[in-house]
Structures are given as structure tokens and as C-alpha cells.
Amino acid sequence: MEIRPILSALLRNRAGAILVALQIAITLAIVVNAVFLTQQRVTKIGRPTGLDDQNIFSFWMTTYEKDYDFLGMVREDMALIRQMPGVVDATPIFQVPLSGSGNSSLFYSLPEKKGENSPANIYPTDEHGVKSLGVTLSAGAPFDANAIEYRKEQSQDYPPTAIVSQGLAKALFKDQPALGKTIYDDQSHPLRIVGVIQHMHGSWVGWDKVDRTILIPRVGPGPSTQYLIRTPPGDLDRVMTAVDTALRKRDPNRVVGEMHKMSDMKRSSYAGDSLMAVTLSTVTGLVLVFSALGIFGLATFNVNNRTRQIGTRRAVGARRRDIVRYFMVENWLVTTAGVVVGCGLALSAGFWLSNQYQMPRLDLYYLVGGVIGLWAVGQFAAWQPSLRAAKVSPAMATRNV
């Protein structure tokens, strides 16, 4: 292979080649790390929540009058909402999953704070909670209507039953079936598991234990709660307006808060991740285009400057194919030099990112992908100038440009 003449020609115009190689090196470092980070964010945003999150809305219901019958209000409101057309089900719930706002507490597999323990997001709700959230039970059944405790006074202890997510069940009982088992809070109050939810996300999407959730059969004591309502697909907006109007009409002496779609809360909770993913992928795209342009520019410049040399080579017997190959190899050499430096840059950037910003360590497959990708981009960008070089006529050898 005719590498040596290519190298010597390259070395004569060092600056251009070094610049392009440098550009490719930085590009590789950016692209590999950016794609790696984007991939993680996209996976995080797209993971299933276990909830019917596109067809749910919720809002705060707050009372303010002394001696107001809060529990009676919840019962009557629920009866009203559940019979409205377009309502799949509705439930009072103190906090809403994916909203960014929630409570958590530690639970133990044995009394006296013994055995395994895990924190979990807690959702006090009634017998309609499971259906309203749209979660699927893998074992057991939703709460029985008479298991719901309508609590009048603030108190610390939990009702005696609970429905837990598989994530929490697994943290406490490994692979044993959790249904029928008892878990304990930090004061050893027992909660018997009457249902296991296949999968359900809690309130804080950035939490590594977001899939550990627990439903508690409790309503009250007020003065406020949230109402969570599930609709069939496509009915959300209409039902939101209807519920708002109906509730205000039923009793004006409480405050119906602003209605929020769960899909909006979800997007808001993931907004930082989306912003990061959008920025990273935009920059990745742009930086690739720029590298291609740089390579294209260098190749064009080289071809223009060497028409006489090309003509001479053609005149002494080089075929068009040889000329194309010459320029493709030349660009491959430049790209490769860039890629080699870029590997070092990409690895140190990845190492730095993971150290500095507590991000996961760069996966080496991405580096391999990046190298192959940049080789392809380089060859693609050099293709057209190389073809143009091949069209230089052998007669150019005799001409003075």
C-alpha cells in the first residue's frame, strides 16, 4: 500500500491535517460522552411507571371552616364524581405519584426494627385507589371497602393492612411471595400485606428507590386531601372541566385547587432530564456535521492544491480508482490520528464527568461505536472530493495553474 507518499504529502501541509485530526479528537470525546449520557436520560424518561399516567388528573381539596365535616365531604364528593360520565374511577389520596411531592417512611420485615428494611413512598387512599391509579395487582386484591379507616384525629399509627409494590416486597422479602406477610413500621406496628402491585412508581423520579411504594387504607383527617381521577383515553380534558364545575356547585365552602394532569407532572418531574437529553443530542448532531464539514473542507483544499500532482500521477499510469483510493486513505489516516487522540480525550472526559458530577462511568461499547462512526463519517465526507480528484485529467500535468 502506498502509505509513505501519502504521509509525506500530508506532512507538507501539516497544519490543515492536524486541525482536522484535533477536531475529530474533540468530536469523539463529545459524541461518545454525550450519546452515553443521552441514552441514560432517555431510558430514565421512558421507563414504565406502572400507572395509567396519561389518563389521570388530580387536585387539592382544602377545607377551612372550623368543625367542617371533612370525611363526609370526601364521601359525598367521591359518590358524585364516580357516577359522572367519563370517570373510570376516583379516589382521595394524600400525595400523588410522579408529582415531586411525597412522604416516605422506613418499613421492616420483622418487628423491633429487625430483618430487612427499606424506605417507601406512602399513599393513604381508599378502596378505589388501585383502580384509580391504574396499577396492576400481581397478587391479592384491592382494599375492602370496610378496611378503610376514616380518621378524625391526627395520629401516627397505620391501619393494619397495606398493598405494597413488588419493588418494596422484593427489598423486604427477596423472592419469597409477599402476600399475607406482615411488615412493620419503626414503632413495630404491624401491617399485613393484602395485595402486591406489579410495578408502581412513587413521587420522586430522581430517587433510586422510586419503585418502592405502599398504599395505606386511610382517609383523613383533613383539612385537605387530593382527589385523583382516572378517565378513558381522550376524555381527560372534558372530565377535568366537568368535575371542577360539579364540585364547586355541590358546596362552595371549600377550595378546589388547580387541576393537574399526571402526564404534565411527569414531564415536569423529568424536565431536567429532557432538557439535558435535548441539549446533548442537539450538540451531538451539530458536532458531527461540523466534523464532516472539516474533513470535507480539508479534502477539497488538498485536491484543489494538488491538481498538477494528480495530473502527473494520472499521466504516468495511475488509474482513477488509484486516485480515489489515495485520497480516501489520506483522510482515513487523518481520521485515525484524530480517533486515537480522541479515545484518550473521551476516556478522560468520561472519567472526569463521573468523578466530578457523580455520573455513571462511560461504557466502553460507546467508545467503540464512536470510533467506527467517526471513521464512517470521515470516509463519507472525503468521498465527493476524492471523486472530483479522480476526474482531473492527465493533461493537467503539463499545465501551469
Binding site: 497544519a15 490543515g16 486541525l19 484535533l22 477536531q23 474533540i26 468530536t27 470525546a29 463529545i30 460522552n33 454525550a34 449520557l37 387539592w60 382544602t62 377545607t63 377551612y64 372550623k66 426494627k113 391526627q154 395520629s155 401516627q156 419503626d186 414503632q187 365552602n253 371549600r254 377550595v255 385547587g257 404534565d264 414531564r267 415536569s268 424536565a271 431536567g272 429532557s274 432538557l275 439535558m276 435535548v278 441539549t279 446533548l280 442537539t282 450538540v283 451539530l286 458536532v287 461540523f290 466534523s291 464539514l293 472539516g294 473542507g297 480539508l298 483544499f301 492544491n305 491538481t307 498538477r308 472526559a349 464527568l353 466530578q356 458530577y357 457523580q358 455520573m359 501551469n400 495553474v401
Partner: protein
């Protein structure tokens, strides 16, 4: 001379409009991405306390779990909130020039004459110095006096927005609002006040909305008002009523102290340590002595208001700008070499190397300036688009991505600086060559 170089630059742009446009565009794209990330970074990195930053201090004392540090990511840090007992005890100190304790609550406000729909206002429970310490501007009336903290008296300060909702924006000083079954007298109405980040309380997000009402702290225990912000507990305690909750190791209070001299700051640090040592004798504070007193800057850093994502994106944006610049260096070099014969003629006619160098550097400067201005505009368009997309479900988007003239100037300056750096090598290279070589053919 500059005028002449500018004319030459213009002539050169006309000769290669495509290549020039490509360079301007390259710089513009790099700068636009920098504009967006820099705007969001600077919004988070701002310290709105200004020159009060160095005299306002927030305490962080380690009352946490003996078996588990407060922060998983850095086990040397102490909690950022206080228990009720500790908040009260620190507030009792006579060392500070000014002092406050506070927490966030809220509830439904009404008017006895039904002049307003019942409305929820987040309510900051705090003490009289709050308004002076954070330089809070008043539209009507003023803060309550220290006496109102003691009683406590049923007084309230409204935000401008709340006053608009409750009284249609008129001077409402002296009128009353009904809250928690009591009449609260309005003593002051704030003017527009929205420090970003919300440095005095970042616990619910640094870009969180301001409170709608301010009420003397002492009403909290009397009316048994829980926190509408964060509450963290570590200890197994039987909490049967509000008083037990106040006495528990749960943390949900914040405090700030104004300490104008270095002596007072030292004295207050000693006070914190002595207080904790004293409490340890009573079996509290089971962790090793680990107290901090942060000024505003330190507090914002402690609470990681600038997120790692901000920094990572900023780094990435500048790396991208670097690629754009390397690209520009290559293009400039090609362009200058292409037109080398013109320089050769100028050299042959007596222009010095330095003249040629400056001429080409001027040309790169002009390209960079054009790219910078275009990039800044593109960047602002990008911010506008991001806000439109993001603002639908993130209400604080305008605060996270502000339009700020200062950012515009910064990025244009960066562009020109970068363009000149990019032009150095090509300009030097073209100035260095002997004139004869350019007068010859290829």
C-alpha cells in the same frame, strides 16, 4: 489603518461568500449553544444577596442519626434544617445584629365581608427582622415590630400578588383577613420581590415561588400549623400531638443571623459549638461535633443550587465551541492561503509582516464578531423556544432560563476573543511566508 483592514476584510468576504458564511455560521452555532447553557448556569449561580452576602449566616448543626450521615453523597455534611428546640435556642442568642427563624406553612384565607373567594396562600412563619435582613421592599405599610413577635399579635404582611387577589391591589394596611379562625390585620404589602435563586430558602427548589403571606412565627405552635415544606425525621419517637412533634428530633425550621463583624462571627461559631456540647450532656446530638455557619455564597453551594447537570452542560457547550473554533481555524487557514497571492503582492509592494498579520487578524475578528452576534441571537431564540416547550409544564422556566443582556455581552465577547485566538495561527502563517513564494504558481 483599521479602516483599511476592514475594507480589505470586506473585499475578502465578497471573494468567498460561501466560505465566509460557513465560518460565521460555525461560530454562531457554537456561541448559541453556549448562550443557552451559560444563561441557565448563571441563573443558578447568581447570588441575589449582593453585598449582604458576607454578613448573613445560616447555621447547620449535626443533630442527625448516630448511625447514618445526613447526606449520602458527602458524609461530612450536617442537616440544613433545625429542630424546633434548636431553632428557638439559637434565636435566643444575643450575639447577632439581627436574627430570624422561620418555616413555610399555608392555608386558606377569606374575608369576613366575602370580598374574596377563599384562596390558598403559602405563608411564611417568621420573625420581624426577616424583612430588614433580606432587604424586602414594601409597597404599603411595613414590617411588624418585634413586639408583635412576642404576643404574638395577629398581623400579616401580604405579597403584592396576594394583595391583588384579596383587596384588588389597593392599600390594604389596617384591613383584616380571616385565617385559621382568626382575624389577621394587614400591616404591610410587599412590592415585587422575587430574588432568584430564592437564596433564603432553597429547600423546595431554588426557583420556587415566593410566599403569599408572612405571619409572626409564634402563631405556628399556637395554631398548630404544620410545615408545607420539607420535614425530615430520623428518630423513633412517639408523636401523639403537635407539642410532641415540636419537641421531637424532626427538622423543619430554618434560621438566619446577621453578623456584621468578624468577632461576632467567631463568637457565634463558638456559641453554636458550646450549645451543641451542652445539649450532648442531655443526651442529644449523638453524632460527633460537626457545625457549620454558612454565608449566603456558602449556603447556595452547600445546597447545590447549581446542579451537576448545569455544569456538565456548560462544559459540553464549551467543548462544542472548541470544535467550532478548530473548524474555523482550518477554514481561515484555507481561505488565507487561497488568497495568498494578494498578500504576496502587498508584501512585495512594501507591507511588513506585521501589517499582513494585523490585516488577517482583523478579518478573523470581524468574522468572529458577526458569528458572535448571530450566535447570541440564535441563542436567545433557542431560549425562547425552550421556554415555550418547557414552560407549559415547568412554571419556573423563565427563572431557570432568563433573557439577560449581560449574557449577550458575555457571549459576544467570548466569540470575539475566540475568533481572534482562532485567527492567530493562520494570520501568523500567512504573514511569515516570503512574498516570492506566493507570486509563483502552485
Amino acid at each position: 489603518m483599521l479602516g483599511y483592514y476592514l475594507r480589505l476584510a470586506l473585499a475578502s468576504f465578497k471573494r468567498n461568500p460561501g466560505l465566509t458564511a460557513l465560518m460565521v455560521f460555525a461560530i454562531a452555532l457554537g456561541i448559541s449553544v453556549c448562550t443557552i447553557t451559560l444563561s441557565s448556569y448563571r441563573a443558578a449561580a447568581r447570588n441575589p444577596a449582593g453585598d449582604r452576602s458576607g454578613i448573613l449566616f445560616a447555621p447547620s448543626i449535626d443533630s442527625w442519626d448516630p448511625d447514618r450521615a445526613y447526606e449520602e453523597y458527602d458524609k461530612t455534611l450536617a442537616p440544613t434544617m433545625l429542630t424546633y428546640r434548636d431553632a428557638k435556642a439559637l434565636y435566643a442568642s444575643r450575639i447577632p445584629d439581627r436574627k430570624l427563624i422561620m418555616y413555610k406553612s399555608g392555608g386558606i384565607y377569606t374575608r369576613a365581608d366575602k370580598g374574596m373567594d377563599p384562596t390558598y396562600f403559602t405563608t411564611r412563619m417568621t420573625t420581624a427582622d426577616f424583612f430588614a435582613m433580606f432587604d424586602v421592599p414594601f409597597l404599603y405599610g411595613g414590617p411588624w415590630d418585634a413586639g408583635a413577635d412576642e404576643g404574638p399579635q395577629p398581623v400579616v404582611v401580604l405579597s403584592k400578588e396576594s394583595n391583588q387577589k384579596a383587596f384588588g391591589g389597593v392599600n390594604s394596611v389596617g384591613r383584616t383577613l380571616h385565617w385559621q379562625d382568626r382575624e389577621f390585620r394587614v400591616v404591610g404589602v410587599l412590592n415585587d420581590w422575587d430574588p432568584t435563586p430564592k437564596y433564603f430558602d432553597v429547600s423546595n427548589g431554588a426557583f420556587n415561588d415566593m410566599e403569599g403571606a408572612y405571619v409572626p412565627f409564634a402563631w405556628g405552635p399556637i395554631l398548630e400549623l404544620g410545615s408545607h415544606g420539607n420535614t425530615n425525621c430520623w428518630k423513633t419517637e412517639v408523636i401523639e400531638n403537635f407539642q410532641a412533634f415540636l419537641n421531637s428530633e424532626c427538622i423543619w425550621f430554618a434560621a438566619w443571623f446577621e453578623l456584621r463583624t468578624a468577632e461576632k462571627q467567631r463568637a457565634f461559631r463558638d456559641f453554636l459549638d458550646n450549645y451543641v456540647v451542652e445539649q450532648k450532656k442531655h443526651g442529644r446530638f449523638p453524632r460527633p461535633l460537626n457545625n457549620y455557619l454558612y454565608d449566603v455564597d456558602g449556603w447556595l453551594k452547600r445546597n447545590r443550587v447549581v446542579e451537576s447537570d448545569n455544569k456538565a452542560m456548560l462544559t459540553l457547550a464549551f467543548a462544542f465551541l472548541a470544535v467550532c473554533l478548530v473548524n474555523t481555524v482550518g477554514l481561515l487557514l484555507a481561505k488565507f492561503l487561497n488568497a495568498a497571492s494578494a498578500s504576496g503582492i502587498r508584501r512585495a509592494l512594501g507591507a511588513s509582516r506585521r501589517d499582513i498579520f494585523w490585516q488577517h487578524l482583523t478579518e478573523s475578528g470581524v468574522v468572529a464578531l458577526a458569528g458572535g452576534v448571530m450566535g447570541a441571537l440564535l441563542g436567545f431564540a433557542g431560549i425562547w423556544a425552550l421556554r415555550a416547550w418547557y414552560g407549559r409544564f415547568v412554571p419556573e422556566a423563565p427563572k431557570v432560563l432568563p433573557f439577560e443582556a449581560a449574557n449577550l455581552l458575555i457571549v459576544v465577547a467570548i466569540a470575539v476573543g475566540a475568533g481572534i485566538v482562532a485567527g492567530l495561527y493562520p494570520a501568523w502563517r500567512i504573514g511569515r511566508a516570503a512574498p516570492s513564494s506566493y507570486l509563483k504558481a502552485q
